[in-house]
């Protein structure tokens, strides 16, 4: 089990970044739904659902970290262990949901990028889902107090793999189209990819956590820039 190292001065900035990223995700989700309502194509539905789930996860993460910081600051001078137990109980549950929603969101986005002729049988999907759940459950007994610290490693590793696939697909698309909006999408997913990679090593150095979040916000701001560029 590794504990995350988060610089105290960074408390709150990460929360803000989660909220901003979630809002951008909701914008993309709503635009994709508009598109799906006209085209009725599955990839557009996947784009809508994927970003919707990611945004819900990021919102949840933002709320959970706000709750943790507020509780932590309120008891910083006179803190009993039971209060920390309550804080981490809430954090545990909230972040566990965030992990689940994000993995589901990334998987659905990956589905949107599969070639149209590819048919993923429900058996394969069920296998991937079951494998993820088993991996999490296997790691659970090793966690004595904070189960999300243990899951954190699996979550980021799994996210790197799935986002890596999406990044590969959008890179191919950019190499063919060579336009600014496609480039901004590549930048967006690159930011998310680096976020999960650096977050994986957050236990190593506090600056990893800071840089990871800077990449997250850069990624989502690139996606926002893409939306603005498309509107012009």
């Amino acid at each position: 089990m590794h504990l995350l190292l988060i610089p105290i001065w960074f408390y709150g900035f990460d929360t803000l970044m989660y909220f901003v990223s979630a809002i951008v995700g909701f914008f993309i989700s709503s635009k994709s739904y508009k598109l799906y309502s006209v085209t009725r194509k599955k990839p557009h539905l996947y784009l809508h659902l994927g970003f919707m789930l990611l945004s819900l996860g990021l919102f949840l993460s933002g709320f959970v970290s706000t709750y943790s910081y507020v509780m932590y600051k309120s008891c910083i001078r006179n803190c009993s262990l039971s209060l920390f137990d309550t804080i981490f109980g809430v954090e545990d549950f909230g972040l566990f949901l965030y992990f689940g929603l994000s993995i589901l969101g990334y998987s659905i986005l990956a589905l949107a990028h599969l070639p149209e002729k590819t048919k993923i049988s429900s058996f394969v999907l069920l296998f991937i889902l079951a494998f993820s759940v088993v991996m999490m459950l296997v790691s659970a007994p090793r966690s004595e107090l904070l189960m999300w610290y243990t899951y954190h490693q699996y979550f980021n590793l799994l996210s790197v793999l799935i986002v890596g696939y999406i990044l590969f697909k959008v890179l191919i698309n950019f190499s063919e189209s060579r336009n600014l909006v496609s480039f901004l999408v590549v930048l967006g997913f690159s930011g998310i990819f680096v976020f999960h990679t650096l977050h994986f090593f957050s236990f190593f150095n506090p600056w990893m956590y800071v840089f990871a979040h800077l990449f997250l916000i850069t990624g989502y701001l690139s996606l926002l820039a893409m939306l603005i560029k498309v509107r012009r």
Binding site: V38, K41, K169, N173, V181
Partner: protein, 83 residues
């Protein structure tokens, strides 16, 4: 297909004869009728008759819808998902 129909009308300065539209959209009479009914129902088009000829006119709402769909198409293509 609905977008193709709206785009064809826009290309003709927002007004087109039914026969021309059938030719441009490459649709049978029956299928075109079905799509036109949908577009008229949503107020994206207006029908006007001059003598024996029927014209279809792109409304403000239809024009805005077409512009929005073009933006969404760009977004979708940026993600590598063609329409």
């Amino acid at each position: 297909m609905l977008l193709d129909i709206l785009a064809s009308i826009q290309k003709e300065n927002g007004k087109i004869k039914k026969t021309h539209l059938m030719y441009r959209a490459n649709l049978t009479h029956e299928r075109l009728k079905k799509y036109l009914e949908m577009l008229l129902l949503n107020d994206f088009l207006e029908e006007s008759k001059t003598g024996n000829q029927t014209f279809y006119i792109l409304t403000e709402k239809g024009n805005k819808f077409l512009m929005e769909m073009r933006r969404l198409k760009k977004m979708s293509e940026a993600f590598g998902i063609p329409i």
